[in-house]
């Protein structure tokens, strides 16, 4: 076990892949500029930098909402001072893998809502698709512009013990967090300009522009100068800051359901200059709530008649309705086969080994080894509805056992993974914390991914949960030129 010199003498280095140090305790070359700066800086300098960074976040109102509290509902998103750094070579691999994966998942969505070839060929069990609560039979036979279902994806990647990137899950419905990626970058440039320049960081600032181009590419036929809007559930949504941020960055209107009207299957927004036709809706509202006539009738966030306008081809929704079927955690296990089926390629980015608990032998194995497994509810996100065996009490394990036996289709099992760790600035010193990586994949005319993404970090020591609702924070992610 190598030991490190001050100021890294308290740094935990065992048991996981470390982003900054190799197994012998040497600094990886692409981390050298950052490492040198950290060695030269006094603790006071860094504390000062941290305060400055927090202040920028606060002043810009970069907050998220915590549910269930009457007051002080807006909080700053915790942001770690030190960037997480990835080489251009590693990134090229990730980019190729994600492009392949998203292309295949999009073909899969096209297929299951039309011919269903993959089901007829028995590659993916029909049962699995039709029992998924995100499967929308209303989408059957409906053509979407350019056959693109998933304009925006956020896919969560982790590294295994050898540092290989693997896909933990896909978010194909309404992934969030990209505003933290963009604002985190602005802050880093101001705090660490020298290291930033030395490292040769690839830019991500054109994300809003590429997003806008992708949305434009998906406008309905014959609408060459489309009016594009961002549909938010409103000010009480936890990602409201992000919605206002993106709308401002793209220069499009931020609308709520009550601003939109459907008349003769055409969508309009109510403006002070009269009704204005809307062509593309970048919607940050879930399927269930988007149209009370077509889906949940108790939704007050949606627009009555919107689905009819969508069916008529008069408006584009991005993402399309019903994409959630492809990020169902049980379907996730089939993604390598899906890639093989449509593209005749092997998956570039591997999956985490996954046990489908609807299958008796897999179920038995997981039930026998619950204390070593991670069990997730298939339709939940945000770290809710999840059992982490090694960290759970006997009672929690028994509760989960009962839940699995009662409704096996609702759960999957995975081995407990040791996420990679990256250096963090914590309480005036350096220590390592587990991280993942969420790149954002845009799909309009083609698939594009800005180099980087949101690195989420589990700020509690030893914790493997990186979700913001569960004590997670974020880091800027730098993709840097090779040395």
């Amino acid at each position: 076990m190598p030991t490190l010199n001050a100021p890294f003498d308290k740094y935990q280095l065992d048991g996981a892949f470390d982003e900054m140090f190799d197994s012998a305790g040497a600094v990886r070359p692409h981390y050298a500029p950052l490492f040198n700066m950290l060695e030269e800086s006094s603790a006071d300098d860094l504390r000062h930098a941290k305060q400055e960074s927090d202040l920028i976040f606060l002043n810009q109102g970069i907050t998220f909402t915590v549910y269930g509290k009457e007051e002080g509902t807006e909080r700053i998103f915790p942001h770690d001072l030190l960037p997480r750094i990835v080489t251009r070579k590693e990134w090229a691999h990730v980019e190729a893998g994600l492009t392949q994966r998203i292309t295949a998942l999009n073909l899969f969505l096209r297929d299951i809502y039309h011919e269903g070839r993959i089901l007829n060929d028995g590659v993916v069990p029909r049962e699995l698709v039709y029992t998924c609560k995100y499967f929308r039979r209303q989408m059957r036979g409906l053509r979407v512009p350019k056959d693109v279902y998933i304009a925006v994806t956020g896919t969560d990647l982790i590294r295994d013990l050898d540092g290989q990137f693997m896909v933990l899950e896909d978010n194909l419905r309404v992934p969030s967090g990209v505003s933290y990626m963009l604002t985190g970058r602005q802050v880093m440039k101001r705090i660490f300009p020298k290291v930033f320049r030395q490292s040769g960081v690839l830019p991500i600032e054109d994300y809003p522009q590429i997003l806008l181009q992708s949305l434009r590419a998906l406008s309905p036929d014959g609408r060459d100068e489309p009016t594009i809007v961002l549909l938010t559930p409103g000010v009480f949504n936890s990602a409201y800051f992000e919605h206002t941020f993106l709308a401002r960055q793209m220069g499009i209107e931020l609308v709520e359901g009550r601003d939109l009207i459907v008349h003769d299957s055409v969508v309009y927004m109510r403006t002070t200059s009269g009704l204005q036709r809307v062509d593309v809706i970048y919607r940050r509202v879930d399927d269930d709530f988007i149209d009370p006539l077509a889906f949940r009738s108790d939704s007050i966030l949606g627009v009555p008649g919107l689905f009819n306008a969508y069916r008529a081809g008069n408006v584009t929704l991005a993402n399309a309705i019903g994409t959630g079927i492809a990020d169902d955690k049980a379907l996730y296990a089939y993604v390598p086969q899906i890639i093989k089926y449509y593209l005749d390629q092997d998956a570039i980015l591997p999956n985490v080994e996954t046990y489908i608990l609807a299958e008796p032998s897999a179920r038995q194995y997981v039930l026998d080894n619950l204390e070593k497994m991670v069990v997730k509810a298939v339709g939940e996100s945000g770290g809710y509805g999840m059992l982490i065996g090694p960290h759970a009490s006997k009672q929690e394990i028994e509760d989960f056992r009962a839940k699995i036996i009662a409704d096996p289709r609702n759960y999957i099992g995975q081995p407990t993974l040791m996420l990679s760790r990256a250096p963090c600035f914590i309480e005036g010193g350096f220590d390592s914390r587990h991280v993942d990586l969420r790149p954002y994949i845009l799909y309009g005319d083609k698939v594009s991914i800005v180099p980087g993404g949101l690195t989420r970090v589990a700020l509690r020591k030893g914790s493997l949960v990186v979700n913001s609702s569960q004590g997670g924070g974020s880091k800027d992610t730098w993709v840097v030129d090779e040395y």
């Binding site: 209107e253 709520e256 002070t272 009269g274």
Partner: protein, 315 residues
């Protein structure tokens, strides 16, 4: 601009103007009441209360600290400073991306300042410092609004909200004082000063009329002065200018209706004299102003916010 955004901006400005009105009423009267006899204090408390857009429902006798408490801190009182500031901030939050960061920061700061003040301090000190700080904050907000926001449609909706509220508030306050101003009831010198102060008009009045206080002059100043920003004539002229700056609605010419109402009110006041108004009835004239403001509010709402769909479809 989205209709919802216009609505939020309009109400944000109205609530802030209302907060300012309550602040000024309290500020102008608290010192006055220190020098008054108990029955005069009662009368004055009743006047303050009725000068609010929505008076408190009072049971029994009202005390000075109780009124202060209600008008500053009571969330259930619609005209209280805290409730107006909170509603203004809620509206601002809904349109956060439409207003400048400076505006948000001032309004947010004001909200936290008001929330921080401890109601128990009222037991042993006058809240003059507090009221002054609230007034300063609102003024800063208005300054930031003019300096950091484009003077486009959004800005004009703020102007409409502010002057609509100001017109109604001034008319209500004058109505409460109408019996005294028309000579039907006694009024003390100090009470006249408080009225002028409540209208932000004390020093400006002195410059025009010197320290001679007559009911006619006070009415003339608060109602018909063309230059003082808190007079009713000044406010309705601003209202008319702001409405004229709004876009023509495409289909049904609804803006014409709002224009017409504003123009009629401005014309009535522009060509009135104080003698005429007094002889035909001050209360009647003020009632008319308030009624026309209500009509303008509805016409504006129908033209820009909640218009019927069929007549507004693009051609």
């Amino acid at each position: 601009m989205l209709s919802r955004v216009a609505d939020s901006l309009y109400w944000m400005a109205r609530y802030l103007e209302r907060a300012e009105h309550t602040t000024r009423l309290l500020d102008a009267n608290i010192q006055l009441m220190l020098e008054q006899k108990p029955n005069a204090v009662d009368r004055q408390l009743r006047r303050i209360n009725l000068s609010l857009g929505e008076p408190l429902k009072l049971e029994g006798k009202l005390s000075v600290p109780a009124l202060e408490q209600a008008l500053i801190f009571d969330m259930r009182v619609k005209s209280s400073i805290i409730s107006c500031v909170m509603h203004a901030r809620e509206n601002a939050r809904q349109v956060r991306e439409q207003i400048s960061s400076e505006m948000w920061s001032e309004l947010n700061g004001l909200y936290h300042f008001v929330k921080k003040y401890d109601p128990e301090d009222l037991d042993h000190e006058l809240p003059l410092e507090f009221l002054n700080e609230v007034r300063r904050n609102i003024t800063l907000f208005k300054g930031e609004t003019d300096a950091t926001m484009s003077h486009g449609e959004e800005w004009w909706f703020l102007q409409i909200g502010r002057h609509m509220e100001r017109t109604v508030n001034m008319a209500t306050m004058l109505t409460v004082h109408a019996p005294e101003l028309c000579g039907d009831a006694d009024i003390e010198h100090l009470e006249l000063l408080a009225l002028l102060r409540s209208g932000n008009a004390f020093e400006a009045y002195l410059k025009k009329y010197t320290a001679e206080f007559s009911a006619e002059n006070i009415i003339e100043f608060l109602l018909l002065n063309p230059q003082h920003p808190h007079s009713i004539l000044f406010s309705v002229r601003r209202l008319q200018d702001s409405i004229a700056a709004l876009p023509e609605m495409s289909a049904q010419g609804q803006r014409g209706q709002v224009d017409r109402l504003a123009g009629r009110l401005v014309a009535t006041l522009s060509y009135s004299s104080v003698d005429e108004i007094l002889s035909s009835g001050l209360v009647l004239a003020l009632d008319n102003i308030i009624r026309q403001c209500v009509q303008m509010h509805s016409a504006l709402h129908q033209a820009y916010i909640d218009y019927p769909i069929e007549s507004s479809l693009p051609v």
